[in-house]
Symmetry: C2
Amino acid sequence: MQRTSYRDMECPVARSLEEVGEWWSILIMRDALLGLRRFDEFQQSLGVAPTTLTRRLNALVDNGLLTKRRYSERPPRDEYLLTDKGRDFQSVVLALLTWGSKHLSGPEGPSLQVVDRHSGTPVTPTLMDAGTLQPLTTRNTSLIAGPGAGPEIHNRIDQVTRRREAKERTR
Amino acid sequence: MQRTSYRDMECPVARSLEEVGEWWSILIMRDALLGLRRFDEFQQSLGVAPTTLTRRLNALVDNGLLTKRRYSERPPRDEYLLTDKGRDFQSVVLALLTWGSKHLSGPEGPSLQVVDRHSGTPVTPTLMDAGTLQPLTTRNTSLIAGPGAGPEIHNRIDQVTRRREAKERTR
């Protein structure tokens, strides 16, 4: 499928999607965050074609989310370790997991649970403001143009402002 | 591109990816969360082909993230409003935005900023445990099988356990 490259877009959401590439990459990151490291482990977990897996692993290494380390010389074998940038991606995977667990679970409940590593107590992943410790919702947050905003972002923010003004007028 | 349907997978991350469908759907959700509602607004913001936009909007309505409301009879025009399920998706969009802003911004800084709607103060979106108010990291969390876990999840968790045991042995 042909498509625009999101990399050209200014928006950090679009750039993140371009950087991570496609669904398989997110599932590879999920497995890496879960603790898998080796090609065979990813393959067994994902059931993906080896060529696809190689391509996606290489892209994640090129983009700096994973790093490759040789663990055997004969036969030559590499394992894939998370970088700090890759570890930071956990918030995206946990946000998807939390949303999916809440809205897409069967009647028996969620299939995965996030727990505190030491105590084993279930945790409730919630997006909060680190400053005020308030949960972030659509009602208490807005997005504004940042210092790196160019015409694309400014246009979009202007659109939202026009929409909000139109809404005020119809009240 | 042919691919496995992630809907058949048990994992809530995979199911979420299937439900949201593709990159365009996430960018539509970003714009809806930003405050856009109308076809023309989404089209102008995304620069996507109308047929693609129609298909993705309909899929988001079918999956219950957006709801359609007629705002004009002549000509017939609908707007797309967020449901509670759609509003909950904000945590995924903000997680992508935060990761992208940190790791993919240019030298001039991030192009978008999340602020408190009322005070305008910048907020720092952080994934935390709502119970303990501790930030969640790869070092203090684990994933375990939940009540809805079937063979797929159990196999993957077993794999991780084997990997961890192998690591202990080489220490």
